[in-house]
């Protein structure tokens, strides 16, 4: 993807990619017909990204809510293998991600490679979390009476994942993994610092085994979409980090209407901090704990 180079001499005309949304396992354009120019590090317009609208968000919510129960009902072992497959697909596209980071963000190859590798390795970590969340966050409770009592985590539902601008690939992956590993569906509001990267991530996911609708990626403006996310009754939770104060407030205000869970990881360390972001406590905000009681007697 570098259409600026295609005018020299009689060189082959490169096939430029149309940047689309990723929704319900397919790649639609924004229903609004709007696009946003994508510039490279030197400020040249190199492509146009779909500019997701409120209606696109609503469509994504519908797709996510349709897919989520089945994803949650899959065995944790199965979800683990699917997430591991994401790592495999990212690894296969490693060079593409590195070059997009270099081209669009103007970062060095070494820097870009570090981020991509970190993102892939984080997928591997979470592939191993799916069947351990319950034992770490739940357990049997030693109540003072003749009852058998256990607490188990369950998926909350559809989670909007609002991703900040810095280190966009690592940021998307870091905020997405805790959400889906617990059995939630996700609608990712991708950072527009590198829309082609978000599109490439969608393409990798489409060729992984993640069922259509479980992860949806919208390229769009956070400030425009946050209030609609906040007020949407069928979104169960919001995940975000490093957001502008206005976006955070819009999310929390609207969320109060139907008591969405909102976790914006205030004061959390940067995304390269494995101790924090690989911990089960990054998953905990996106599960509901259910405690089940039964009398115990002969």
């Amino acid at each position: 993807m570098s259409p600026t180079k295609n005018t020299t001499k009689s060189a082959r005309v490169e096939v430029a990619k149309t940047l689309k949304l990723y929704m319900n396992g397919a790649f639609p354009r924004s229903e609004s017909g709007r696009t946003i120019p994508v510039k490279d590090a030197k400020g040249r317009v190199v492509a146009h990204a779909s500019h997701a609208s409120r209606k696109d968000l609503r469509d994504a919510v519908e797709a996510a809510n349709a897919a989520q129960p089945k994803w949650a009902a899959a065995t944790a072992y199965n979800r683990g293998q699917v997430i591991y497959r994401i790592a495999e697909m990212l690894e296969a596209r490693r060079a593409e991600f590195v070059s997009l980071i270099q081209q669009i963000e103007g970062r060095s190859k070494a820097d870009a490679t570090r981020e991509v590798d970190h993102a892939i390795d984080r997928c591997v970590c979470f592939a191993g979390w799916t069947d351990k969340i319950a034992s770490v966050l739940g357990g049997k409770q030693p109540v003072a009476g003749p009852y058998f009592v256990f607490t188990m985590p369950e998926a909350t539902g559809t989670v909007a994942v609002v991703v900040p601008d810095e280190q966009p690939l690592l940021a998307m992956v870091t905020l997405l993994l805790p959400v889906i590993s617990a059995g939630n569906a996700a609608i990712v509001i991708a950072p527009m610092t590198n829309a082609p990267l978000a599109v490439a991530l969608g393409e990798a996911l489409a060729t992984s085994d993640v069922p259509g609708g479980v992860i949806n990626i919208l390229t769009g403006m956070r400030a425009e979409l946050c209030p609609w996310i906040a007020s949407h009754r069928d979104i169960a939770a919001v995940c975000g980090a490093q957001l502008a104060a206005a976006d955070a407030k819009a999310l929390e205000l609207g969320a109060a209407e139907n008591l969405k869970r909102v976790c914006l990881f205030h004061d959390a360390p940067k995304f390269d901090d494995d101790a924090f972001w690989h911990s089960p406590f990054a998953i905990a905000p996106f599960v509901e704990l259910k405690t089940v009681w039964h009398p115990s007697a002969l």
């Binding site: 009476g145 009592v149 607490t151 109060a256 360390p269 406590f281 405690t291």
Partner: protein, 486 residues
């Protein structure tokens, strides 16, 4: 029925708590006069007699309590965890010693039967302090690798249905984790929290670690107004109605304040044809008439499998007639007084709506005392899912009965609400019970039992019943910051 005249002689609890005629605010380890200059009388809802005069905190008073908590915070957070634990164990022991007195006061101020405050509330209060005392020096194991730290100053607003128990559920985990607190008891039930303040002081809890501000909704709003302010409140915990919970969530939006909400419910109690029916009847009775139905997780929607509807209703109505309604201080009383005149009027509005919308009412035939606030336990049959009494939380002794034909339909109808606090299932089939527990959207699922609580068992809701848990290791996360984050 041959013997219908059998009755119990009065058996009133004789212990009487020693009370002062008036109470100030508990701030910085002392009872102080409110700067607002205002006070109100708190009454016994069973007799409408005044129990004491208590301070009505204004915004200034709340600010003063928050400042006291802020001042106490650094030292308390740094206190050796094992020493914090010893103070908390001591508090648990002292509550145990004074539990009869506290139970009587709880019943006098709130209207609940003495056998409930004595056998349910107080033991749980003690257990909550004892359980959390033990957590103080074990937090790094509870959050392995995540370096738990206290959040700071916690503003805690609690309801009138379990006044002392809610105080314990809020205060015990908070102080165990090294936080300091400003607690606002409900307007109608301030008394036991004030007695708890005396006990904590007596047990050597440092000044300012727990502050108690009595008052109405304005005092609560003054607490949430300080959320995220400089030297204000770092964490808000609220138990109460969903409506107020949403208002609080809005008030703290964008302030970066940690928030947990334990709100309303319209919980289903599902009885399958294969259930042990007499046990199920007992479960339904305790599910809705425990504490006059003033229970956020009350099983207020009864779903009976269609094939046993008539049989089950016959058993239930027969059992209902045995409920003894009256003097809460009588040791034989099953259903006490409604907590306040305002709540009685709310319940009466719902009961009227039930009849107006076409459901059939059956109520316990009994005499009610002349003074005080009373409501006869009642059930409605022929309830449609669209009826007000099937959708809205009543918070009173009113049960709505509906039917279902298949387990799938039971799940669908049970989950057809915006709430998700608790659910009950009655069946002798283990596989069905477990799969029902998987499918019901509720934070607590009681299989072949109902309304059980324990300090080690997390309690809290799904969806609009709120978020966050209270109790157990899982409940601690409401009161710690992890890895520098939230």
């Amino acid at each position: 029925m041959t013997n219908t005249t059998f009755s119990y002689a009065p058996a009133p609890e004789s212990v009487r708590p020693v009370l002062k005629p008036s109470y100030g605010l508990f701030i910085g380890g002392k009872f102080v006069e409110p700067r607002s200059g205002k006070s109100f009388k708190t009454i016994n809802p069973a007799t409408e007699e005044t129990i004491a005069t208590v301070a009505d905190a204004g915004a200034d008073d709340v600010a003063r309590a928050v400042a006291a908590a802020r001042k106490a915070f650094p030292a308390w957070a740094k206190t050796k965890p094992a020493e914090r634990a010893k103070i908390m164990f001591r508090i648990a022991r002292r509550i145990q010693e004074r539990s009869r007195e506290l139970a009587v006061l709880e019943t006098m101020n709130g209207g609940k039967p003495i056998k409930e405050s004595r056998d349910e509330d107080l033991p749980l209060v003690v257990q909550h302090f004892f359980h959390h005392a033990g957590w103080c020096d074990k937090l790094p194991y509870a959050f392995a690798g995540a370096m738990p730290k206290p959040v700071g100053v916690c503003g805690q607003i609690i309801p009138w249905n379990f006044p002392l128990m809610m105080a314990a559920w809020k205060l015990a985990p908070a102080i165990a984790c090294g936080n300091t607190c400003v607690l606002k008891p409900a307007e109608t039930t301030p008394m036991t929290a004030l007695m708890l303040a005396e006990i904590m002081q007596e047990c050597g809890l440092p000044d300012g670690v727990v502050n108690i501000v009595t008052g109405g909704p304005d005092a609560g709003r003054a607490i949430t107004a300080l959320a995220g302010a400089k030297n204000g409140v770092d964490k808000i915990a609220f138990t109460g109605s969903t409506e107020v919970g949403k208002a609080i969530a809005k008030a703290v939006a964008g302030t970066g304040t940690k928030l947990t909400l334990e709100l309303g419910g319209k919980s289903p109690n599902i009885v399958f044809a294969d259930a042990a029916l007499d046990q199920a009847v007992e479960g339904v009775v305790s599910g809705i008439w425990f504490n006059q139905g003033h229970v956020c997780c009350a099983g207020s929607r009864l779903f009976v499998e269609e094939s046993i509807h008539d049989d089950f209703l016959a058993r239930l109505t027969r059992r209902m007639q045995q409920l003894r309604v009256g003097d809460p201080l009588d040791k034989n009383t099953d259903v006490g007084a409604i907590n306040s005149k305002a709540q009685l009027e709310t319940i009466q509005r719902f009961v009227k709506a039930g009849s107006d919308e076409g459901a059939q009412k059956f109520e316990v035939a009994c005499d009610l005392p002349k003074k005080g606030f009373w409501c006869k336990p009642c059930i409605f049959t022929g309830v449609q899912p669209s009826h007000t009494i099937a959708r809205e939380e009543i918070f009173g002794p009113v049960l709505s009965v509906m039917t279902f034909r298949t387990p799938e339909e039971a799940v669908q109808r049970a989950n057809n609400t915006t709430y998700g606090l608790s659910a009950g299932v009655w069946t002798e089939k283990a596989a069905r019970a477990l799969e029902m527990s998987n499918r019901l959207s509720a934070g607590v699922v009681w299989l072949n039992t109902f309304n059980r609580f324990d300090a080690s068992a997390p309690f809290g809701g799904y969806r609009e019943s709120g978020f966050g848990r209270e109790g157990g290791r899982q409940g601690l996360s409401s009161y710690v910051k992890l890895g520098g984050g939230r």
